[in-house]
Symmetry: C2
Subunit: 196 residues, 2 copies
Amino acid sequence: MNRRIITISREFGSGGRSIGKQLAERLGYKYYDKELIDKLVEKTGYDKKVIEKEGEYAPGKNIFAYAFVGRTIDGMSVSDYLWKEQREMILEIAEKENCVIVGRCADYILRDRKDVLNVYIHADKEFRAKRIVELYGESDEKPVKRLEDKDAKRAVNYRYYTDRKWGMSQNYHIALDSGVLGMDKCVEMILSALSC
Amino acid sequence: MNRRIITISREFGSGGRSIGKQLAERLGYKYYDKELIDKLVEKTGYDKKVIEKEGEYAPGKNIFAYAFVGRTIDGMSVSDYLWKEQREMILEIAEKENCVIVGRCADYILRDRKDVLNVYIHADKEFRAKRIVELYGESDEKPVKRLEDKDAKRAVNYRYYTDRKWGMSQNYHIALDSGVLGMDKCVEMILSALSC
């Protein structure tokens, strides 16, 4: 069975996005990351900034904070509403085209499909801290603190919507340390697995 | 940097051992799994059955059970004593030869070396249950129950001696789903990563 959809979950700064982009280019697949936000803006009418904030990250580290974020007219929280809309969008995209989808719990959302390859990219903090400073520049916050915050938010979001632990090998077909293996090797390894 | 030591952690029935054996054969590396038990028998004088029971598995799922297992003359529990001896043995082996080591928290024990590739092999329960019946035959216990028990023991042992969560992607350079990818593909992917 050829895997015509690749989902990439990744620690912040690990290069998962670059790996995803390279894969999409090499394969001629459509690439979805921030593109999903634009589609969601179009679909829901919500402001892009709200979607960026609520769409992938939890509002705080505390899972209970979810309940108090604000509600849509039908009583659903904004996060839950955006999750529902985004989920439907991802299911539709997967149905219609070959693609690489970064983040957004796509591994979980597409778990019943047999044509999906789920990948997780991680690296140690030193590697990632150096990389985020190179990519995004310095900020008031220390780079290690920045990545710990982002990772914590992703983990809470993943747990909340999937009831799974983010980063557990069992959730992915392939999990790779991009810091040790290098980005190009990760791309090659993932490509070599697509025919499974 | 060439990785001249491969550690393989694996869910019970996932084929991690077969993958390790194939790697050792292909690379001409020494293979350590049950071989470590024989060495430990020789080194400590403990009975093979005791070592098999205590050497890799915790005596029960409950981490506190460790404290009550029995003690050596210097007050250490048998598990702790065997862990200490096994740890030293693994450090020595890694120092002197190219090898594949299956289980025994070798990824953690060798974490300071830069010539080690840490691999985790997992697969879904259906795949593993089928495989353990083919390999080890039927038993009174249902195969899924058997593998859940073994995995739980390995997870407790790993947590106890490493303070890490067994199966978290971050502990390994490569984690692979052998049920989806197939054994041969896993071997190829690991071989392709050795030059990192």
